[in-house]
Symmetry: C2
DNA sequence: GGGTACATGTAATCAGTTACATGATTTA
DNA sequence: TAAATCATGTAACTGATTACATGTACCC
């Protein structure tokens, strides 16, 4: 009857999720995995990938095993409690509102030259789109990757929406209307 | 020859921008203004709207005037230095990558039932869309609101893109494409 | 064998979050 | 006049950001 685990942040669930996927991982491996997957839409600084696993251990949601000699790296592993916490979160009803956090928009809001910003945004989003598309083509076909695939689709859809938006803005035309 | 001001966060610029717009404002007024404008795409907790102005004062980018009696409220005003910092940022070339920060996506990524999530996201985004559309219709016509208007258009475009995405996902069909 | 890049962390600072607390107004 | 809500802040805690620091492997 897994109790809810208060105080777990998105970062916590990201690490739990990566640990479950990896079986066992060092922070550096988490960093690499994250960078090639979730990192595309949810940044986590690498220092957090060292700090968070220890927090999880303190809560009993993971365990550590430290190498005795050499680099004395720490290998983390998710516990059954950890899996339960992750599953409870996944199945849970709460879905906090997402946020945009787009600095370019902030600038436009406060009066930056829209055309100038827009032109550069179009280019940036085009690059992004190319990257994501390439990745999707590689991921497609892999089994058990439907979650990540959906996410990639979302990312691609968003890039396309942004490109359309900034292009309209760069062209100086108003909204299409309604 | 305004030097760059290191250590200013997006929150700093939001407060500077709101102060310039308002002429003079108490944190509570900042809170209200923020909630009805930038707040739609960039959240700032109210405690930061009390803390940040003092940081700006410490840097010489704003001034305070505290009431002598009664509530002893603090009224803030942007300084010329503050205006310069804001303008430098607005004109500056750096545009950090935006982020999605969408908890729903995170859940789907890590294996939550996509249909379940999608159905609820569609509803949430529809509400959001209605809100933004209503606001845009009010803002349209106001003079000197082109920055905010563009922002609203962006928000609306994003909501529509999300709705389309989640609807496809809820319908269980793959991406359109090939 | 010296440099460069990758790997692996720790420490200090600071912003952000949450919670609490009280004063003023409105309304029932 | 009691209750509820709005206004106005402060305090404590903790996560996130930045910077630093060192170890190991590779390559020229």
């Amino acid at each position: 009857m897994s109790m809810p685990h208060p105080g777990l942040t998105p970062t916590s669930y990201i690490v739990l999720g990566l640990l479950r996927f990896a079986g066992e991982a060092t922070p550096y491996e988490l960093k690499a995995t994250h960078a090639g997957s979730v990192g595309f839409f949810w940044a986590v600084p690498h220092s957090q990938l060292y700090a968070e696993p220890d927090r999880l251990v303190a809560r009993g949601l993971a365990t550590v095993r430290q190498e005795e000699r050499g680099r004395r790296r720490k290998h983390y592993r998710i516990t059954d409690e950890g899996v339960a916490a992750l599953d409870a979160w996944l199945a849970g009803a709460d879905l906090p509102r997402g946020e945009l956090r787009e600095p370019a928009l902030l600038k436009v809001f406060f009066g930056a030259d829209p055309t100038d910003v827009a032109v550069r945004q179009v280019e940036a989003h085009r690059e992004r789109l190319a990257t994501l598309t390439a990745i999707r083509d590689r991921v497609r076909g892999l089994p058990n990757a439907t979650g990540p695939l959906h996410t990639l689709d979302a990312g691609i859809a968003m890039q396309e929406a942004w490109i359309a938006f900034w292009e309209r803005l760069a062209a100086g035309s108003g909204p299409v209307e309604g």
